[in-house]
């Protein structure tokens, strides 16, 4: 299969320069790499720019209502676990109106591949702040700056006992494709936070790492089994230390040849280190004012967490099979025969 095979005949209507174009292409490439036939794939979305994605993929697709893509996708996957089910969603669709479905699909560990396009803005309604907009963000609905604290999606995913979390960036095609392929391979609810630029309403929101010159210094691509090395010259590494006063563990930047440099273990069940990794650099996106932030930790990209746990869809279907194997009645007539009757 080629990426072309997963392209629908629809004209792609994202704004010129929108990060969603890149994710769309990455999806087609990833699906080709995975090689699942188009009729075995269902792509479910809610409402928002990102939720137009199903129209551009030559698979089964369902563009539903705002925030509910996760619940619809849960229904599709639970009733038909043999399908590859994807959910396309944004920071508003997933974390605001659809927040409840989002945490519960993660908690249940439904085997879905969720692409959460995070541009930190409501684009389709033309520029209101979102649950991931930094504090103080000026938008049409926050003309004097927001007073709210944003969500950090990774923290929410881990809080909901997520088994898979990856973060990627619209302008980094290879990492995006890798994350999407890994999401499909993971059995369970895979959340891929795609940092995308909204060229119209929030241009440059991820410039700290999207800027080609800054990216190598400000981000690290995590790969399972590899040392955590970053920097333009691959000269920096990540290590962990315990604060002697508070006993709180924290990550620090050390030289790449330091023996303390950590090796990434995405399969570790304990989420402590995954959380530290996922939260690196997030202070910078929590608030608009970043001048006083003195943080040399890079923002983590790649698959941060990928651990095994039974999926909801597998478990419910297994339970049905177990009960059916033991049961005496399998048809309506057999069932009514069990009633007290006269």
């Amino acid at each position: 299969m080629e990426a072309q095979d997963y392209k629908s005949d629809q004209y792609v209507r994202f704004c010129p320069g929108c990060g969603d174009h890149a994710i769309c292409m990455a999806l087609q490439k990833a699906m080709a790499q995975i090689g699942i036939p188009t009729h075995q794939i269902a792509v479910i979305s809610g409402i928002g720019c990102s939720s137009r994605m199903p129209h551009y993929l030559n698979t089964y697709g369902f563009n539903t209502i705002h925030g509910r893509g996760g619940a619809v996708a849960t229904g599709v996957k639970t009733s038909h676990p043999e399908l590859s089910v994807w959910q396309m969603s944004g920071d508003g669709d997933c974390l605001a109106i659809g927040g409840n479905h989002f945490i519960h699909e993660i908690r249940r560990n439904v085997d879905l591949n969720v692409c959460m396009f995070n541009n930190r803005i409501y684009g389709l309604t033309k520029g209101q702040y979102s649950p991931t907009s930094p504090k103080g963000f000026v938008s049409k609905s926050s003309p004097f700056g927001t007073v709210e604290r944003p969500f950090i999606p990774a923290e929410l995913v881990l809080g909901a006992r997520g088994t898979f979390f990856a973060r990627t960036l619209d302008v980094d095609m290879p990492t995006t494709v890798d994350c999407l392929v890994a999401a499909q391979q993971h059995k369970g609810c895979s959340i891929v936070e795609c940092l995308v630029n909204c060229v119209i309403f929030n241009n440059g929101t991820h410039a700290w790492i999207a800027d080609r010159d800054l990216r190598a210094e400000h981000s690290i691509i995590l790969r399972h089994g590899e040392k955590m090395i970053f920097g333009k010259d691959k000269d920096k590494g990540l290590a962990i230390e315990i604060d002697p006063q508070t006993f709180i563990p924290r990550l620090i930047v050390v030289s790449a040849d330091d023996t303390r440099v950590l090796t990434h273990d995405a399969h570790q069940q304990d989420p402590t280190l995954h959380r530290l990794l996922a939260l690196m650099g997030q202070k910078r996106v929590e608030q608009v004012k970043t001048d006083d932030i003195d943080d040399e930790l890079p923002i983590a990209l790649g698959v941060i967490r990928d651990v095994e746990a039974e999926t909801y869809d597998a478990a419910v279907n297994r339970q049905i099979q177990e009960v059916r194997a033991q049961a005496k009645a399998h048809t309506f007539d057999e069932l009514t025969a069990t009633l007290e009757q006269w």
Binding site: H39, T74, S79, H104
Partner: protein, 621 residues
């Protein structure tokens, strides 16, 4: 005697629902028709012995039973609070209220069995009596036959060697009462004993003590020759309209269980997997619980995180080719509105069951009402037609749940099935059908010839679009909640296209009228100019009222679209009186459809089923 009404009332911890249900089932097994009305507080356990904690269960049994009865002929009152509530009825909270037949839960000539051990000073205080003599204080007329029984002491005596602790012994008082009532109605003990064995199958240790108390209760009646005569009921005639005329097997069934089983039968008949996405809500939860139990039937139940997810998971399953359902009550239907609109727009089959309760908002969660009719027909944004059905007896919840599935699958539309608390919790005699007897169901699966040429807007000659779902090679498509192009099935904002699609969706629902039975008038045989009109759960009460009035009755099960002969039926009467448990929603709907008809209305909104007597009085005046 043709029929009789028995009411069990006690504290919510006294097991009145269990006792009532067992007695009703015994009655049904003895060949009586039954109709039951559980009437319990919203609180799971209000403070013991208080007025707020009184739980009641009423059953009418015998022949020609249409309703659970307006008022009881025999009452069992387990404590002082229950005695007060059943004597004063809805006026139990009024200071200085006395027995008044209009509000009381039993007749002027009723038999009232009271546990005299539960009338201590403390009990009277908890139930807010002001004097030491409850009977005088309540003004119970002398025509009422009060049978004082030391239920508590007798139960203790019966179980003194059982080894049970005091608390468990006291909990068995209801079985003594059941035994006594069985004696009163001459119900054989062997059947009752068998029933207890089945009931306590999972707790075998409870069978022996409960059986002993029940038998002692029976013998107490027999030996002490209480000052009442045994009551002998006529056997139900199978020719009655509430029971199928043909022979077959019968059981007693509650409305919610019948609904769940209707869905199971339809899935089997349609060759589809049954999927229920739901969220617990009174009084609909039993449907989900019943289906969760039916994994043997391959039923998939998702207990969702909220009402919206309940319907949305179902919509996902419908998109993926299942018979998809969601069950709820009024507040949940409100929450599901937007998603039902999605199913209308995406033209997917979906069954939405609304077990109506008292509203608005949280309202009266455990009481009955018919106030969601307008919401079911119209309560969504945009021009958003659905098929709307209503079951009219606890037993025919099965039939209409089955119909809802049939119409959804064959017409690619959401179907809202309305039942209510009264039907859901009430039980009735049900003739068990075989799968072979049930109507065929032909889901609108896409024909193979459209492979490679399919799009989600393609319709058949009836205007019903074809259903293709993931996994089918060559039918890949994108479904949407956005408006779609009538030809290509892709997103369209074209003005003429939108209008034609709105009309196409309406026409599709309207043509369902060709696939449902015509309206049949229930007549007493006498020619009448007066037509009572009802819909849904009021059938029994209106039938009884029509019998008494000698007029005709048109009871609607198909609400939207209406049966094709509706106008011609209505036009034959001078007086058309629409009776419903709301402020006149069906009356308003009929007026909108048939503005020329002289439509009167009679309404009650008290969270209770109709009282037949009041309908009769209204029509006569």
């Amino acid at each position: 005697m043709k029929h009789i009404v028995v009411r069990f009332c006690g504290d919510s911890g006294d097991g009145m629902q269990l006792t009532g249900n067992l007695f009703a089932q015994l009655g049904a097994e003895s060949g009586h028709e039954i109709s039951t009305l559980p009437d319990f507080p919203a609180e799971i356990r209000a403070p013991q012995g208080t007025l707020g904690g009184v739980s009641g269960f009423q059953v009418e049994l015998g022949s020609e039973v249409y309703t659970p009865g307006d008022k009881a002929d025999v009452v069992v009152a387990m404590n002082a609070a229950a005695l007060k509530v059943c004597t004063l009825g809805s006026h139990f909270n009024h200071p200085q209220a006395h027995y008044d037949e209009e509000f009381a839960q039993f007749h002027r000539h009723a038999i009232v069995i009271v546990d005299t051990d539960a009338l201590t000073d403390k009990d009277l205080e908890k139930a807010q009596y002001h004097t030491e003599n409850p009977f005088t204080e309540l003004g119970i007329p002398e025509s009422v036959q009060i049978i004082p029984v030391a239920l508590t002491a007798l139960t203790k005596e019966s179980l003194k060697e059982s080894g049970l602790d005091n608390k468990s012994i006291l909990k068995s008082r209801n079985m003594f009462a059941l035994g006594l009532i069985c004696w009163l109605f001459d119900e054989p003990m062997d059947k009752a004993m068998h029933l207890l064995e089945t009931k306590f199958k999972k707790k075998p240790a409870l069978v022996a003590p409960n059986t002993k108390v029940m038998v002692d209760g029976y013998n107490y009646g027999q030996n002490l020759a209480l000052n009442i005569n045994q009551i002998h009921l006529d056997q139900a005639k199978l020719t009655d309209r509430r029971v199928a005329t043909e022979d077959g097997h019968y059981t007693s069934i509650a409305g919610n269980k019948a609904t769940a089983w209707g869905l199971i039968a339809a899935a089997e008949k349609a060759g589809k997997r049954l999927f229920l996405g739901s969220y617990p809500i009174t009084p609909a939860t039993d449907i989900m619980q019943e289906l969760a139990l039916r994994k043997d039937m391959n039923v998939m139940v998702v207990q969702a995180e909220d009402e919206i997810a309940g319907v949305c998971t179902a919509i996902g399953a419908a998109f993926a080719g299942d018979l998809a359902c969601t069950s709820t009550s009024g507040p949940g239907l409100s929450l599901k509105s937007e998603a039902i609109g999605l199913a209308v727009m995406a033209e997917l089959p979906l069954v939405v069951i609304d077990v109506q309760r008292g509203g608005p908002s949280t309202g009266l969660p455990t009481k009955t009402e018919q106030t969601d009719l307008m919401q079911a027909i119209y309560g969504r944004n945009g021009e958003c037609p659905c098929v709307v059905l209503a079951a009219s007896t606890s037993a025919n919840c099965f039939e209409y749940a089955y119909e809802a599935c049939r119409l959804a699958l064959e017409n690619m539309t959401p179907v809202v099935l309305l039942t209510d608390t009264y039907l859901a919790n009430g039980t009735a005699l049900w003739r068990i059908p075989t799968a072979a007897e049930l109507p065929e169901i032909h889901p609108q699966n896409v024909p193979e010839r459209l492979k490679g040429k399919y799009n989600p807007a393609l319709r058949d000659e009836r205007g019903v679009r074809y259903w293709a779902f993931p996994g089918m090679e060559g039918f890949e498509h994108r479904n949407i909640g956005l408006e779609r192009d009538a030809e290509k099935g892709t997103i369209s904002t074209n003005p003429e296209n939108h209008e034609s699609m709105v009309r196409a969706r309406q026409a599709k629902v309207a043509q369902v009228a060709n696939r449902i039975p015509e309206l049949k008038v229930i007549s007493t045989g006498k020619k009448s100019d007066v037509l009572l009109v009802g819909w849904g759960s009021t059938e029994g009460h209106l039938h009884a009222a029509a019998n008494e009035l000698g007029c005709d009755l048109a009871q609607f099960n198909y609400i939207h679209p209406l049966p094709k002969n509706t106008a011609s039926v209505l036009s034959q009467y001078k007086r058309i009186i629409v009776c419903e448990l709301n402020t006149g929603q069906f009356a308003a709907y009929l007026r909108s459809q048939f503005p020329q008809m002289p439509i009167e209305q009679y309404n009650e909104i008290q969270g209770q089923p109709f009282a037949v007597e009041r309908i009769v009085n209204f029509v006569k005046k």
